[in-house]
Symmetry: C2
Subunit: 557 residues, 2 copies
């Protein structure tokens, strides 16, 4: 867009009306900074898609204006899009120590680390780009080293909370800068972008410390091996597992690639303390008495290839689950994952394990990293923003967050529930939404970024429902007569051996259809194909109530 002097613009390229692929942009005149670059996992309707990232057309077109990508923390929905983004636009990236560690892991995997420009910041850093001055504040969340961001502009200050809860008894000293937040609020906030994940939940988020207490209890009660499955990035919870293992004199094995990698990053950067000699390899688990080992593993969301799922069917090479072992799933299933997690719990019980999981533990072995309603109100109260833009949530969460904001004093009409791509323009202290930039979902499928669109997905959907039927017909160039075929091949429609009669009727029908047209001197291959599709399609629907994709192929010789 043509940039205008003194114009402050705020918009999202991802993160609105969704949980995932967070990407926000603050632009002042001719300079812009990007906040986060996340990815999102597809739901089951996006057949074959591996990952969704934001459409970055606007950023590619305005590459010269980009000053920085600032990353609030290291969760996938905030860093997962970075490798794909860097392939198109190589921007300087600013993040804290631990977040950088996770970004480096990712860039190494994509072989992009060498060319990237990474700078480490902390909550005391100060960045300046033209008229924008940027400072930070610490927040508590379910991963260490999280930042909120203050962007000072001549129009006023814009605050982005990152993901947060208020945890007054955090693990590993991950205290939020409440006094600094109060000061930011006192200095005046023109616009607040605050996350909305738990806007539906009344009360305050419980402290991570509660999980530690429960873990310790479970470890003390356990008579044999203890398995704990949780998010690898929840380093503070990992630390609590370490504490519980120390307390019960257990060695600790890490299972699953991301658990090993992330704990490695956390240890080397000082975010988790594990006594020397405590960690053992998976294949060493069997060397210790069962009441002297604990295992920390991936797969708490029921991912079929992760450690927990393989353990639950005793399909893990090095470690077995035995009767009377304890398995703790220290995570809540993300909506959509309930069934896979339940299946794992079933299998673990069938192996004779004592399973501690969501439905079975009173307070749960999990607390959320996102603030509940009272946390959100506290943030709004501290910041006292003139304008409020709820972010990071589905529509109902944004809507309920607006009601919370109004309940603590944000003026009516001063909350903007935007869509991805909607631009909030602020000029002379006054905000409005009148324009839109291009935004959307870009699908990653294998090596392809953005090459699978609606046509391909529609075909996949039809193929997945009822399969397909190829009908090949050879027609002579010279006399326009059918010289071979129809040859029929089908997949995913019926089991061929059970359906010989049906398929031979299809052959006959296709033959009659083609011959009738050819005899009527109709030689448009297109018309012939359409007729085959229609006739065969109707016939099959009548007989099977299914609609396979029908692909007529005409070979002219």
């Amino acid at each position: 867009m043509a940039s205008k002097e003194n114009l402050l613009s705020i918009f999202a390229l991802g993160g609105i009306n969704e949980i995932g692929k967070n990407m926000y942009v603050v632009q002042y005149a001719d300079e812009l900074v990007i906040i986060d670059c996340g990815a999102k996992f597809p739901d089951e309707s996006l057949l074959g898609i591996d990952l969704i990232i934001p459409d970055i057309t606007y950023l590619q077109e305005n590459e010269d204006k980009i000053r920085a990508l600032i990353v609030t923390h290291g969760h996938e929905d905030h860093i997962g899009g970075i490798p794909y983004f860097l392939k198109k636009v190589n921007v300087p990236i600013y993040a804290t120590n631990f977040t950088l560690g996770l970004i480096e892991l990712k860039l190494t995997e994509h072989r992009l680390l060498g060319d990237s420009q990474l700078s480490q910041i902390d909550s005391n850093s100060n960045l300046s780009f033209g008229d924008m001055n940027i400072t930070f504040f610490k927040t508590s969340h379910s991963i260490p080293d999280c930042l909120g961001i203050v962007i000072e502009t001549p129009q006023g200050n814009v605050v982005h909370t990152g993901d947060f809860k208020f945890d007054l008894t955090p693990v590993n000293q991950q205290y939020a800068d409440i006094h600094k937040m109060a000061e930011i609020g006192r200095n005046g906030v023109l616009a607040l972008l605050s996350e909305s994940t738990n806007a539906e939940r009344p009360g305050s988020t419980p402290s991570e410390l509660l999980v530690g207490d429960q873990l310790e209890e479970a470890f003390l009660r356990a008579k044999r091996k203890v398995f704990v499955s949780t998010f690898a990035s929840n380093v503070n919870r990992v630390q609590q597992v370490v504490h519980a293992a120390i307390k019960t004199q257990r060695k600790l094995a890490l299972l699953g690639r991301s658990m090993v990698n992330v704990v490695d990053v956390a240890m080397s950067r000082g975010y988790v303390q594990i006594p020397e000699g405590m960690l053992i390899e998976g294949h060493e688990v069997g060397l210790y008495p069962a009441d002297k080992v604990a295992i920390l593993c991936t797969g708490s969301q029921g991912e079929p290839m992760a450690a927990l799922s393989r353990l639950s069917t005793n399909g893990y090479r090095d470690v077995e689950v035995h009767p009377e072992d304890t398995v703790i799933i220290a995570a809540s299933p993300i909506p959509g994952n309930e069934r896979s997690v339940s299946r794992i719990v079933d299998n673990l019980f069938a192996l004779g394990a004592k399973v501690v999981y969501g439905a079975s533990s009173k307070t749960g072995m999990h607390v959320s990293g996102h603030g509940y309603q009272e946390d959100l109100k506290l943030m709004l109260t501290l910041m006292k923003p003139k304008y409020f833009i709820p972010i990071h949530g589905e529509y109902r969460m944004l809507h309920l967050h607006q009601l919370l904001a109004e309940s603590v004093g944000v003026a009516e009409g001063h909350t903007f529930i935007i869509k991805n791509g909607d631009v909030v323009d602020i000029e002379q202290g006054s905000a409005r939404v009148t324009r839109k930039i291009l935004s959307g979902d870009t699908y990653v499928d294998g090596n392809g970024i953005g090459d699978v669109g609606n046509v391909v997905l529609r075909d996949r959907r039809q193929l997945s429902e009822d399969g397909m039927l190829v009908i090949v017909i050879t027609i002579s160039k010279s006399d326009k007569k059918m010289i071979s075929g129809p040859d029929t091949i089908t997949r995913g429609f019926v089991f061929v051996k059970d359906a010989e009669e049906l398929l031979s009727s299809v052959n006959e029908l296709a033959q009659t259809t083609v011959n009738t047209l050819l005899e009527a001197d109709i030689h448009s291959w297109n018309i012939i194909k359409q007729s085959i599709k229609k006739e065969v399609g109707q016939f099959l629907f009548q007989h099977t109530k299914r609609k396979p994709m029908i692909l007529p192929i005409i070979i002219e010789i």
Copy 2:
């Protein structure tokens, strides 16, 4: 199986390690009765499958021994398989008045009502088949007119609970026969089959009456139209909606085919009372002031074609959702449906409605129809069974139900956690599981029952992930040379216009592959096809990291 005198056998053809397709069999010597005949909805891995029903091979082979199908209540997971079963085996069906009404609806739809043998029973009925004498007791559940079953045999009495909770303040006088249950227990129960759905949940199930109180409050607060979406078969809840509407002088419209049909059955059989003149048609809603109408609709599980989903995008012909209307979702999402329900809530909020749903209401506008742990323990205590077979649940529920049973006195070793098909044989008062009969899932897809199996599903899965590529080659019969092709057609793999280069490389590769083989005098079409698959498959995976299904077709002329 060869029947043995005095042998009592109990087994499940569905309902164990799953929620759905309940079907249990009790056989004494040469006679057997079936309890329930349910269906199950497929999860997202069963592409294109409409419904799952039990494998009934055993029953077909033992048709002469079947004396009755007794149906405990009218939920889909207990009656949904009946039409498919009756097409194979026409057995006499016994059920209560309301249950029969729902079965008749279903049979009418499948045009099977004329030939079916339906008999109405109630909790005082007594059926006798040879040495089996069968009596009943009333239970409370989320649908009216539910039965538990007592099968008296010379070996002892077998009790099947049906689905139940204990609701001491039920709506519409749907009291359970607690005194009768106590008497049954006092008379001695050899084996108890009890449902396990809520074995994970501590405490007692709240009474349906709570929902009524909440509904009434919401109706009183509402300033404009009130929509309530719930299960059509939850007639007692429908009755409470009617009460709330009466209290606030509202007319009531019913939206959605199953709501209209089921309420019609319930009214005509006396299970719901609606004052004359209160019901209006959907198209009449607009004729009344907004605070004088309520709408009861289907779709509380987020089903995309049901009324609520269409209302949420204002895609319903007769009725619109306006700002300040109230929409109450009086149901919990069944695991797997959370995301679809959330999407509907988002859309309703976007229309300006006040939405009352799971996360937003303190106690919820829903209570379960299945007993929690204390309810299950009460049933076990009343029945005092010698042997216990937990049914109607996934493995973890059966397992936890066993622990509950042992906590109230069922002896260790006397609980049988079976699989579908496992037979519990009882002889001389002693039970054991040593044999298995055929059981499994039969898939319904369109008109086909059981014709879609693993091969077809595997193909659908591959097609759904990465689509497919057909390569047609014509080879001359006489000189074994390629005379046409390769012609390539692809669907669901790449967008053809974006991938012209890739596809022309595929063509070249296929051509080289075929020519090389032909020149080497290899004329086995099978070898040629396999080579094309392998070469093209490797090439495509290398370039796209995708694995489309590759279908080489050779036409010989």
